[in-house]
Amino acid sequence: MDVAFLRETFLRLLPGVPLTLQLAFLSVSIGLFFALLLGFAMRARFAPLAWLAHGYVFVFRGTPLLVQVFLIYYGLGQFRPFLQELDLWWFFRSPWYCVLLALAMNTAAYGAEIVRGGLQSVPAPQVEAARAFGMSGFTLYRRIIGPLALRQALPAYGNELILMVKATALASTVTLMEITGIAHKLISETFRAVEIFLVAGSIYLFLNFLLTRLIAWGERKIAPDLALDKPELKTALVH
């Protein structure tokens, strides 16, 4: 094995790490906000709102993320004059914004299912007891429903976070030079696929390893009785 080449590959891939992290962090943050809105909307009593939220989740979970990326980045280019008129072209012209939008919309759909599942897992008697004590609205959510739902949802959400780190690789298909983008460029320059794969794969594994430790720490913190401290990557099978 050519150690000098591995070292050089590592140094050339390193500049891609910030973009990967940036895309993952921003899309997850934006996605979480919409996941919460959608998760609550799916349980709304006002039926059309619930249908709308269910429909959104159905479409975004039922189609590949790459199709969503292409639809936003290439597809919306079809409406360029219109978007220019609305002064939105700067947004849809940029691969960075488009990928961020696609990733955020995608994770919002998966996150919404997790939020809904978490809310559904809260035992009804707990809520009834809280109501009997006179708690309602925000207090009820802050003290009872929120913490219980969060405990239930965190493991599944941790899997979603890992999947999102992996999903940022799709940014390379619309010319962004994150880790996978640089790796692809290096492979097509040198044709040394195996070595470059080893280095790029190790970087992703390292990032995801840190993430699993962080999630496991969070699980222990908020649900010490539920936390399964497994060092392996627990990736969701529900994707």
Partner: protein
């Protein structure tokens, strides 16, 4: 709506091309899933074995393949596979570049990733078999093979079915990624029993075909949207299929 006429069947529209492309995408997913079942069963067996080495190797396999982007694996097989084939051909005195068939590349790359997910599902399903049944089978004098065929496999399949349904959805959506390596399956013209000649055909996978149609009509939105609709159709039909299969498989099983 002149753009809708582009979505008709026949030479002027793209619907027939897109439908065949969806068929190819389905076949890639199917091949990937089948290979994944093979890798997954092997890895699950290794994870359950007494050998520390086998357990370690299987753990590395599932951890690595689930921790890195699928796209990277596809690039590895696409570039690495052809390089490996070329060097093997070199041993036999052939000095050119040998491309790995795109379908094989895609199925292998998707299968190896999917195997890591299936391994976890199958392992869990095996552990769900009541211990007593395995012991009873042994006590009845069943050989390992008969025990596997009569007791283990039917129950593993039954318990694994919901998980396998999820993994299948995963593989369907993952198959879109092969569009980046431009999967085209090329069938040469063949003479059927010297009666009539089937024309030469080229198939693209669904997303690639949408890309081609988008490029040639300059209407990308319509075609990516249609591709999305095809994927949604495939995932929805699969969901319904697995729901029915689960219902059937769970007949006679009492649940707590």
């Amino acid at each position: 709506m002149q753009s809708l006429s582009l979505l008709t069947w026949g030479t002027s529209g793209w619907l027939d091309e897109l439908t065949f492309a969806a068929g190819l995408t389905f076949l890639i997913a199917l091949a990937g899933f089948a290979l994944g079942a093979l890798f997954g069963a092997l890895a699950a067996t290794a994870k359950l074995s007494r050998s520390r080495f086998a357990r370690g190797a299987a753990d590395v396999y599932t951890t690595v393949l689930r921790g890195i982007p699928d796209l990277l694996v596809i690039y590895l097989f696409y570039f690495g596979g052809s390089a490996a084939l070329s060097s093997i051909a070199g041993l036999f005195g052939y000095t050119g570049f040998v491309g790995m068939p795109a379908f094989v590349t895609a199925a292998l790359a998707i299968g190896i990733v999917n195997g890591a997910y299936q391994a976890e599902v199958l392992r869990g399903a095996y552990l769900a078999i009541p211990k007593g049944e395995l012991e009873a089978a042994k006590a009845c004098g069943m050989s390992d093979w008969i025990r596997l065929r009569r007791i283990i496999v039917p129950q593993v399949l039954r318990f694994a079915l919901p998980g396998l349904g999820n993994v299948w959805q995963l593989v369907l959506k993952e198959s879109a990624l092969v569009a980046v390596i431009g999967l085209t399956v090329h069938l040469p013209a063949i003479d059927v029993f010297q009666l009539f000649t089937l024309p030469e055909v080229r198939f693209n996978d669904l997303l690639r075909q949408a890309h081609v149609a988008a490029g040639s009509t300059r209407l990308p939105f319509i075609f990516y949207l249609t591709a999305g609709a095809f994927y949604l159709l495939l995932t929805t039909l699969s969901y319904a299929f697995f729901q029915r299969a689960e219902k059937r498989a769970l007949v006679g099983l009492r649940r707590a």
